[in-house]
Symmetry: D2
Subunit: 436 residues, 4 copies
């Protein structure tokens, strides 16, 4: 995690404090189940919760023990026995380090997923608010970066809303993928511990028992999780690039918010750089890149090897923290985006009505002009606009062959933007369940 | 698609014949809706189905027209008018090429997904059969490639079954992602066509209407689809690598089936190479790699650019055909896998009982021996096995300090493999819903 | 290889005809060396060349034999014996299939690299021509998509020339990486064949002997080769995206060539889509993606496994053919690019002189105005330009506080574009070794 | 950088201290050149070096200023003026932040490359020592994980040496790629600064001037750099996987060094896990993954956007630190690798001479036996070895049909391992330039 691109809540998920707290809970819940099964004294299970439940684990002390024992779980258990006393000997009975490590990693990932889901909710809210605000703000739709037909800025944002709704659904599914618990021993056979313990811990920690673990929880689950983050990051990139395009000097239909006091803005007022969305573009590349090592992690040898571990030390914190930061930054960009409807209109009018040429062409055909003739009529007027800067509507109205086929009102009607926005309500209802 | 790694049914999905057939259906269903709306004559819609419904489209002729018009959809429509006659002028009214192209691509992907789902079902069936066959075939479980504790070969296969069940679920979700239809015009505003047409075509073709399209169907859907294929491929790799390990000369617990007549096998009977699973390892790398350009395809500019198109011409056919081939090949490997239970047993016995050292250690502790003493006792006997090739059980029985703490029966009991397999039924019930 | 994105010369490199021809040459050169060493009769070596040297290999016949023998090299050798007669028994003595397959693959890759080098030369030539043509065509330089300072279009193209010069150098190095030959037997020990044979074949085929092969030529070489293609593709993407930006409706400083007769262009004259460079963007994604499986191919097990083979069947032809096509297409785009210097000038003037605010600020400071005051002076005039559309130069000349510090000539001089282009010659000399 | 996978020297390269020191040097050298050109007083340039040359920059103070100014370079310059005094106003004249930032990044990358080159040298030394130590240690060569023909462990290591020699060459080239300096202003035109300044700074800092920069140094250079690291990582993975295979319980031809006191090793003496090389496998995945965002960074918009920056904050430190750590760890693994020649021999003998079947087959053919008969003879004896555990040599000597064709000495000679090792000297000479 790079501090610059991490936020406190997500950083906390990956802190040693959180990790040891989760380890404790796994062990303590397991003790409850072991006590219930009669493997350890019920009294001991109670003591463990009482003494450890509110204890502050001393990270420095655990590190000190680990330097000696070269084993993180043993170091923790040793420290726990310092806190809990003799009953600590009942902790971890029949369990394997991976039972604790893998279940903890999944708990951390579900916590991370919950933060990301909240991030998505905030983003969806911002997109919805701005979409309704600009539901009727007419703007030119572009294909290939070239003017195509009018749409509204609200429809554009509605499209992103629909995309991030899908992101949310995917993340819910991805969270479910990794919300599992394994307490199954050295090769997953439950030789030294009853399946009931796993079931109890799973339930207590709001996880599902892993159907078959092999010391480790299978890594196809994590591959799917990180691949999903990569897809969400790609959607962030799409919106980021849209903003960057809109902020281009020549387009200037919207801008990232720039605080009045922000230095350098006034002497070169045109020089407001979309640095936030550029940054998001880069962050998206990173989150996406983590999908690959996650997929390579799947093919562990036999019941497990430990090659996945180093990878996860990077991508566990980095992918979630970066995506969290990116979603929050994007929400802020959307929330405060400065929109210039008048520039949108000006761009739309750049070619003086040419954007309606298609409709005129169609109208001529429907009025009985042959396709070839209609094309020729539109073309000769279009070229005057294109080459001489004339106004398309005026040219058409002055063209006898055109007016012979179409009345003035009819021609004017073809320049009505309402034609293009008549289904905006339908689209909004699809996306938001409401159009107002 | 490389013929060597493609199968006919999947190849057919990507054939021009299939594509044009789907194009026709989209257009013809749209005509039905347009007729219902009164935009075109009902008679025309009927004629289109009657003349085009069973027509064979002449690929060479369409190619010829395309060479002239440089536009694939126009070429098709021109050819269609040669088949349908004058009523063809009612086809494609108010539609955009992308309406046809994107909806068709999604139909092809859903067809591909259906084939892959059937592949997964076959694989699951093979895994289930072999898992039950070897439910009680004891074998050594390995972590880090090193002997750990016993398990059964059936449990190993059950783990893969659970993994491919997850693959199936993911693929069902991925299929749903791309089962959408868009008929919304140049920038997705339905300016020239009613949303009702999209709804009708969607329903008729078993798709969902795309909530917001922007001339194109948003590519986050496809990114998710191809990322999912990449994860499934990674699971294939895990099983392939397991087989490759088992077939190693020194391990030889299982082998890919080798037909009796297969050349070269008898003069060098040890030289049976796991070429199928090696091949699967490579194919998995390819399918995985396609996830990345699919994710880079998401951030199209504004309402669309066409940079995704070339990518999809590669990965659409290649990813689905390769995965289809790989799943079928894997199913065949599993189905015919030659398993050597006696080699499994021999490998398990390689260190003459040492695999049980952990249980003996625990028993000594539970019998009141201090942890340090117990460790020392186990260690001195273990080293005789390791260094001098002695038998662990015999050594323990001959060690007075050990027998002072544990009775002979108790010691022998620690060497019982049943201890490790007692929960196999539980695991099978979890995976298959039955243990017999 | 997708026909649509492949060119004949590269396709030929990957044809069965080429492959078998290379196989023959490897075998025949090896026979020469074996004859020289006295292992086989010199007469036989001569016969093999005489009969096979100009023979046309019958692909269908070889396929037929392969279907029977399930072995491609044996099938070829059998067919060769049909052509050469009894002396064919001296072919392939002491050799392994991989000796032929791996050396052939490297020959194909070097041939492919040679085509790509020629492609790069053509691209460099086009870039050089256009760079000199527009050496002095002033245009606005942009950072973050926002106007920054003036530069020339020639300088922009010179930058791309420098980048593709680097591409060329990298490709030369990459070609050298894979220009090796291995004829070293089953595990690379030369047990059955003298190293002299490898040395002879290498020399005859313009390759270097592989220092240590292990049945196969080590795949780090190929990883480096394909990674290099991925980097070159990324440079293609940069130029493609530059063109796409320049062609945006609002920018329109350059356009892909659009033939006068190209349909649809006149009725919507603004609707000329940069489809070639969009296509290049997608192709770049594909070529880049192939670097990853190539890297995963490196870690073959022990002396070799065959997991790399399927990967190479895809990426060998696909990466080289796609890059060849992309380079040729890019060259054509550059060659015919329609440049609009007047639009460049208009865009540069969009903010009526504001682009020179930085120079004015500096001049005021150098004239003794405090930094704060200078900033305030520039700012108040800049804001009039920005908000009211005034002309920056006129405002400055009308501002008493400004003219108190700077003379009119001095102020006017700050608006001289020559200031920005004075080192264009230096840059051109660096890149092209000449400035005219 | 994850502390666990980073080493101090590399960490220092990426520390704020190092960064600010490099910034200072760039600025101070630029002042020298500016003084030489008469732009600033020579006295000032001297003072800057005198006061700043040995100064300790106060990171906390710089951070404090940056929080205020929101600009890292300005914060540094402000702090520098606190150290240098009034002459500091001559620093950075005509320069752009990117001039400092990009040149500094390249200096850091060259420093990182130098450390990596030293790492590679150490690894090469270790490989050479162990290769000569085991030059004649016979071991079975394996293809597909299956026994093929004998080789020596020294030859295996020589192959890795050759591979890491190539890694070294590639890294030298990659270092050259990014050893450039740009001081060219806002869009690279040298409008505000003479090219001579860039040339001076480049020379002083042992860099080459960037032929054409565009505010930034072109990112194809960095893409090539990180792609090269990815290829080197893949070679690390190959050696790591080799060790993991050799350490498998059933193979046990070599082991990572395990210190005598290392806990847990004696009670389960077989349970020594190749955790270092498993770890290296994971680290290789990470380094490889960074190549992709580096390639995506190439296509910056126009003269630059800042999307690359966030990516480089991750991969600059992470890729170099991880690779440094991995190379050092690998060197240690190679250095201390515990090799078991007797296990190698035992594995080689596993199929009692069968490994020589190929040579016997050939000898029979050369002795005039028809191919079919020779095959049958070898086969019937081979099957007795395979199925009944007989000794291949004894069986052959007892087979009248065999001895009719070949004398006993001749048969015995076919079992001579020297046959396979006779060219080891040649291979060593190729790799090391010496065979002893």
């Amino acid at each position: 995690m790079i501090p610059r691109y991490s936020r406190p809540e997500m950083t906390a998920v990956w802190s040693p404090e959180t990790k040891f707290r989760i380890w404790f809970e796994i062990e303590a819940h397991a003790c409850d189940a072991l006590a219930e099964l009669g493997v350890i004294p019920k009294e001991a299970a109670r003591t463990i919760w009482e003494k450890g439940g509110n204890a502050t684990f001393d990270i420095a002390r655990i590190d000190e023990i680990e330097r000696e024992t070269k084993h993180d779980v043993i170091a923790f258990l040793t420290h726990l026995s310092e806190i809990v006393g003799p009953d600590a000997r009942f902790v971890h009975q029949g369990m394997t380090s991976s039972d604790v490590l893998d279940t903890c990693f999944n708990v951390q990932l579900t916590k991370a997923a919950d933060i990301l889901l909240a991030d998505l909710d905030a983003l969806l809210q911002a997109l919805e608010r701005r979409a309704f605000e600009h539901k009727d703000t007419v703007t030119i739709g572009r294909s290939h970066g070239i003017h195509a037909e009018p749409t509204t800025f609200g429809v554009k944002l509605a499209g992103f809303h629909a995309e991030f709704q899908r992101s949310r659904q995917r993340l819910v599914a991805a969270r479910e993928e990794i919300a599992t618990c394994a307490i199954s021993g050295a090769v997953g056979t439950f030789a030294n511990i009853e399946p009931a313990v796993e079931e109890h811990v799973a339930k207590a920690m709001d996880l599902a028992p892993e159907p078959v673990s092999t010391q480790v929880i299978p890594r196809d689950r994590h591959a799917m999780f990180f691949a999903t983050l990569g897809v969400i990051a790609s959607s962030i990139e799409r919106l980021a690039i849209e903003v960057r395009h809109l902020q281009r000097t020549e387009v200037l239909e919207a801008e990232e918010y720039f605080s009045p006091g922000q230095k350098g803005s006034s002497a070169m007022p045109h020089k407001r750089n979309p640095v936030l969305t550029e940054n998001l573009t880069g962050l998206a590349r990173m989150v996406r890149s983590y999908a690959l090592p996650a997929m390579e992690n799947v093919a562990l040898w036999h019941e497990r090897d430990i090659s996945h571990s180093s990878v996860e030390r990077y991508i566990g914190p980095d992918a979630t923290a970066t995506l969290d930061f990116a979603l929050a930054r994007l929400t802020s960009v959307v929330d405060k985006l400065v929109v210039y409807p008048e520039h949108m209109q000006a761009n739309l009018d750049k070619f003086k009505g040419l954007v309606h040429s298609q409709r005129v062409l169609l109208a001529l055909t429907q009025a009985g002009v042959s396709r070839e003739d209609a094309y020729r009529l539109v073309q000769r007027n279009a070229m005057k606009v294109w080459q001489e800067g004339k106004d398309f509507l005026e040219e058409l109205l002055a063209d006898k062959d055109v007016t012979a086929a179409l009345g003035e009102d009819e021609i004017r009607e073809k320049f009505d933007l309402g034609y293009h926005t008549k289904h905006v309500d339908t689209i909004f209802k699809r996306v938001f369940g409401r159009s107002a």
